[in-house]
Amino acid sequence: MIRAQVLCCGGTGCTSSGSPKIQAAFQSEIEKQGLADEIKVVQTGCFGLCALGPVVIIYPDGTFYSKIKVEDVAEIVSEHLLKGRPVERLIYKEGAEIKTDENGEVHASLNDTTFYKSQHRLALRNCGVINPENIDEYIAMDGYRALGKALTEMTPDQVIETVLASGLRGRGGAGFPTGMKWKFASGNRGNVQKYVCCNADEGDPGAFMDRSVLEGDPHAVIEAMAIAGYAIGADQGYVYVRAEYPIAVKRLQIAIDQAKEYGLLGKNIFGTDFNFDLSIRLGAGAFVCGEETALMTSIEGKRGEPRPRPPFPAVKGLFEKPTILNNVETYANIPQIILNGAEWFSSIGTEKSKGTKVFALGGKIKNTGLVEVPMGTTLRHIIEEIGGGIPNGKKFKAAQTGGPSGGCIPASLIDTPIDYDNLLAIGSMMGSGGLIVMDEDNCMVDIARFFLDFTVDESCGKCTPCRVGTKRLLEILDKIISGNGEMEDLDRLEELSTYIKSASLCGLGQTAPNPVLSTLRYFRDEYIAHIVDKKCPAGVCKKLIRYEIDPEKCIGCGMCAKNCPASTIVRTDYVAAGHKLASMKIEQANCVKCGACMSSCKFKAISKG
């Protein structure tokens, strides 16, 4: 009988911080202390708090340990697992009250921490709870019941009606109603070949919720795709996943094999005449292949380039057959909707955006990781409560959503309830849910340049507005951050952006200027500071900053010169009153603006301007 379980996160984040070693250490220590019959070590998917990895949860009490080292394992086993005394110094307790009851017993459960307390985990419900490589654990959590229900109790049209009524919208970017997509592809069932595809080509810098679902709960995606196949009358599915996600690919393959073995994929599923098969197609990591038509072209074995729409995939998609393509997170919601009903799902969220959304929190924020909240949660709540706020007492400046296709939300709009339509209205977009937090040290012109640099690299080159237009935008931005900008450049940026948006072939080009437009809209004064004052207010753009030594404060110790990698700090003849040595001076011509002098000066004699 197993009385306790040790859940070790096996997501990509924790794997890179050493969780496989921790898991092995638990296994051997538990055996060594003779507890192997009553304590089980389980590898799970991502818990969401990636910044604190490797993380371990011990059930039944739900104690959450973070930043575990191999040396800590023996102590946890002998103290916590044998004697029942959680090792307090290793418990993650942000926001959670450590309760000591009348017996001196320590309680600190993961669910009490501010990070988890206000989350609502639907798409991530099994991540960090089940072993993703064991189909039985998924089944124990009601897995494949939705597929059974759909096949035996519902007609394909009823399935589509349910998805439609739930209000579920695509979680990959544009937010198109999922049920509509399915409906468009549902005609002529049984007479034509159709396909169900899953977009797991997660390309936004900083977004990794799809990876987390595939790593932590792969069967949810498989089950949902089979349901989709039943709804539109398709017997073949493809998951397009980037080769950079090796753990996700491996677990998904294991899951597909197990589902086939159980007959949950294949012929005559649940004794009905419904057949469905699934295979994985690996992408090479081109951003454009996340665009639906480029993705399908890539599955066909051709170079991943978009094609004009219409015809839409629902009419002529993969191999020119009717196809539906949904994102991983979208699929992860489907089994829940079928099981609990459209009304249950549509009771969560806002009027036009139903359910929850997973955000990948990154940038200047304490709790880097994945959070899932109901639609309509304010940005303030996500950043200040769940995310734990900005580190080092800095001030929140803006949040970037939607990656290279999205835009910035300034501090003045921090109370905006986040859903598809609100984000569009303020010039950003939901995108796949990357949420990058920026503080006063981030330069908004530099941020716009960063995302544009990415799209210039990733533009596939097929259409001119995107290929040439984004390049020109980048050149203008480069001109501004190097101090050579003119006020007319701002008009040029806006004009060119408008052309690129309206004339590009696919979503990549149509959204590429968004980071420029939204920073221009909310942070125009920063652009003007770069152009008119030749200053970077945040002190980021190297060509516009200068380090200076105050000769009155400098005692001439020479630490700065010692630390200067460009050897460009020299001694002057000037000895300030009360000092013994002559002061130092930076020869600006060779300065690389690294700031090493400033951080090495103990007398605060060096300033940045």
Binding site: M1, I2, R3, A4, Q5, L7, E38, Y59, P60, D61, G62, L82, K83, G84, R85, N103, G104, E105, S109, N111, V129, I130, D136, E137, I139, A140, M141, D142, G143, Y144, R145, G148, T152, Y262, G263, L264, N268, I269, F270, G271
Partner: protein, 124 residues
């Protein structure tokens, strides 16, 4: 997988194995497992509860867990039973046999085994 019944069968079989992670059971059996408790024989008591709960398929209602020293070392092994909305019951000087009786009468039957409680031990 030819039928829903097969699926249900796997689900039932596996449920006990993952139910630990759902928490929120309304009854908690806590065994004192500090050095004093272990020395006094708390291990067999813990095992008896764990096996008993499993055998009686009470896994979704009862959590068995351990704790540190409660501070009444002379009464070890000590077992406490917590139940939502009820007073805590403290059993003392437990053995595997006594554990079985507590399991049957208190945990399953809802009737406190007065003779093993600390109130009675103090009187004696």
């Amino acid at each position: 997988m030819k039928s829903l019944a097969e699926l249900a069968e796997i689900r039932e079989r596996m449920k006990n194995k993952v139910v630990l992670r759902e928490g929120g059971n309304d009854m908690r059996v806590v065994v004192g497992m500090a050095t004093c408790g272990i020395a006094a024989g708390a291990r067999p008591v813990l095992n008896a509860f764990v096996e008993g709960v499993n055998r009686e398929a009470l896994g979704d209602k009862v959590t068995v867990t351990q704790t540190g020293c409660i501070g009444i070392c002379q009464y070890e092994p000590v077992v406490e039973v917590f139940q939502a909305g009820k007073d805590k019951v403290t059993y003392v000087e437990m053995t595997a046999e006594k554990a079985e009786k507590v399991l049957q009468e208190h945990i399953k039957g809802g009737k406190v085994v007065e003779e093993y409680t600390i109130t009675n031990a103090k009187k004696a």
